[in-house]
Point group: C2
Amino acid sequence: MIPILKTDLSSELLDLENYIINHSCDIEHWFRTQWLEYTAPFYASVDLRNSGFKLTPVDTNLFPGGFNNLNPDFAPLTIQAISIAIEKICPDARQVLLVPENHTRNIFYLKNIFELTEILKNSGIEVRIGSIAPNINEIQIIEIDEKNSIKIEPIHRENDRLFLKNKDSTTFKPCAIILNNDLSAGVPDKLNNLNQRIIPPLSAGWPTRRKSIHFSYYNQIVEEFSKFTKIDPWLINPYFEKLNGLNFLEREGEIQLAEHIEKLLIKIKKKYSQYNISHEPYVVIKADAGTYGMGIMTIKNSEDVLNLNRKMRKKMSVVKDGIKVTEVIIQEGVHTEETVNDSVAEPVVYMIDHFVVGGFYRVHTNKEKDENLNSPGMHFVPVSFETSCLMPDQGRPCDDKANRFYAYGVIARLALLAAAKELKD
Amino acid sequence: MIPILKTDLSSELLDLENYIINHSCDIEHWFRTQWLEYTAPFYASVDLRNSGFKLTPVDTNLFPGGFNNLNPDFAPLTIQAISIAIEKICPDARQVLLVPENHTRNIFYLKNIFELTEILKNSGIEVRIGSIAPNINEIQIIEIDEKNSIKIEPIHRENDRLFLKNKDSTTFKPCAIILNNDLSAGVPDKLNNLNQRIIPPLSAGWPTRRKSIHFSYYNQIVEEFSKFTKIDPWLINPYFEKLNGLNFLEREGEIQLAEHIEKLLIKIKKKYSQYNISHEPYVVIKADAGTYGMGIMTIKNSEDVLNLNRKMRKKMSVVKDGIKVTEVIIQEGVHTEETVNDSVAEPVVYMIDHFVVGGFYRVHTNKEKDENLNSPGMHFVPVSFETSCLMPDQGRPCDDKANRFYAYGVIARLALLAAAKELKD
């Protein structure tokens, strides 16, 4: 099942998809030369939105969850890609420690961790799960379904190395540490100044990362890509701006925020009228550092930010792990026009190293097309992509499923390149 | 459908398969360290034989045909692997020239060429097919099925570069040349001293390659692998010897050949009695340089080589493209005990770079288990592997299909390592 695109593709986006599909050789060649210069992140997922007139990434996650939502048919692809990634980073690795998020109660997340360990095992890596949560002092065995369970162990540190203790008091000494924890709460002491390779590096975590920096690099990438595809960069790039010095609770910076939103809405309206788009424009306010759909708000009218009730202001003022929000980006909203059984569907593309390994749709049964689909908890139904994103079929219409997914893989890789530049600098 | 193994696995081979499946992390780690030192061939296929008491490669092809016989479900795996291979060898390549075998009439082979071009295209390479056959002076378009055809073009050379001429008299200037021609007839002048990358290198062709050298390297690899798996190397390695100075037509070297075969048969019998194997041993005589199932003969009794009729002697005296056979290897025969619907089935594992990308069974409906299954022409029915060879399933019996194929992938990669050493030296 491939989600239905409710509106027709605009002629511009159709041109772009056509270009992508019929110039896959040029595009792949361009990517190859880019990857000579930039090192792809170990793994990433990119949230895309397809409005029929615009196809853009809206978020790039460098600690992707949701591996359990991928199509099991493409597991070999994921295994091969992770073998390559491991070979590049630490070919001599034999044992690795996987560090998950601290919230060990979310069964969907734990299934992702289980899947990640399976992928690593199947690519020939011995893997164990060690938690940096302060309250994990003994081994936890958690059932994730009728057949499988995962074991989460407390991590020990001696000098500059982490290890796990075995029952027989021997130790599990990982060569490398794979983070699936975005470090929203800050980098714990345990992970600082280690003499073990940390993958991805600590700098990929939210204490360092900023969405605004990511999207600045994305601007550059799109600029280059648009030059050779000869398209309007706006078609694949949402406008954004960054704002500092906010305090939602104390209403500091509100007016400035409203002004910037107003300007951004005008900019978007101009583009909408250029392309005869009748949708109502909107912007999304997001914490510049943060994830998990927290600290996110949708605004259609700049004045609305002046009239936020206390609950909304409270919601915007902190993100995951209670971190205060003072910096935000305001990003052009991209309407989701893909639906599965009338429910809004948002594609998420998964990559390991610089290889697309699949993806899935977040299908949301209760939300509107201009709402954020990645809310806390599990409010979506995952529908895995039916085909890999690898093979364009030039003989078929560009909205054929193989072709739509290939185009998604291309746009997602543009965001991946932006993340690569981000991590390099 | 997975072929039935007619005999039970002997306890030794069972131990080996068990070891392979339950130590996949150690094995993959070992392979990773090997691939740090040796560069895998661009592509290869390895013919395996499973006798229930022995699982060995019997031939390693560095110009594999038969890509059309692989399971289309794993096409993404092949595409990803070829992307990696191209990136390593010539990341800047945009256009490549594929040089097929000269026999342009074999529809099965042409389907392989079609499949190869598809894989290359899908990994973002512009590819055209150029023939080095002397009689190809104009473009040939050959239908390979109802839907598809391939275009084979004459190759032009100017100074040290090959190119194709377009209709509009512009030229197709390949950055690299991919050979799917084993150069049995010798290296044509056109390919000598080029300033374009040739993949695999000319030295992988039969004018240079010798089976005996390949299997000498295989001996080394098996020695190392057996040390850490603590198995008898013989379980995965057929005995062989090399002989020079033969002339089958003139009956030169016959007696010497019979003597060596006798010695080899005694050596094999000794092993058979060690493991209580009741099969009748046999040896295979193969041209040391050559392929295509030509110049191959099965012998159960050393005296038989003294009594070859003229037809047999003629058959043994030349291989493909009329090249005379003076050097042979005599290789321990490995009985094929796998069957599909009572027909003998021989697995062939395909690899690109150092990645196993699938395989198929040659299922032969008329032949006996100790006959050569790769005869000239198409006398076999291909049955593609149902699962990738990537994922062992440690929770299941070692003869479960995922596990059997994983073990096949491991043994095939041992032969691949031997080929890598061969090409390095």
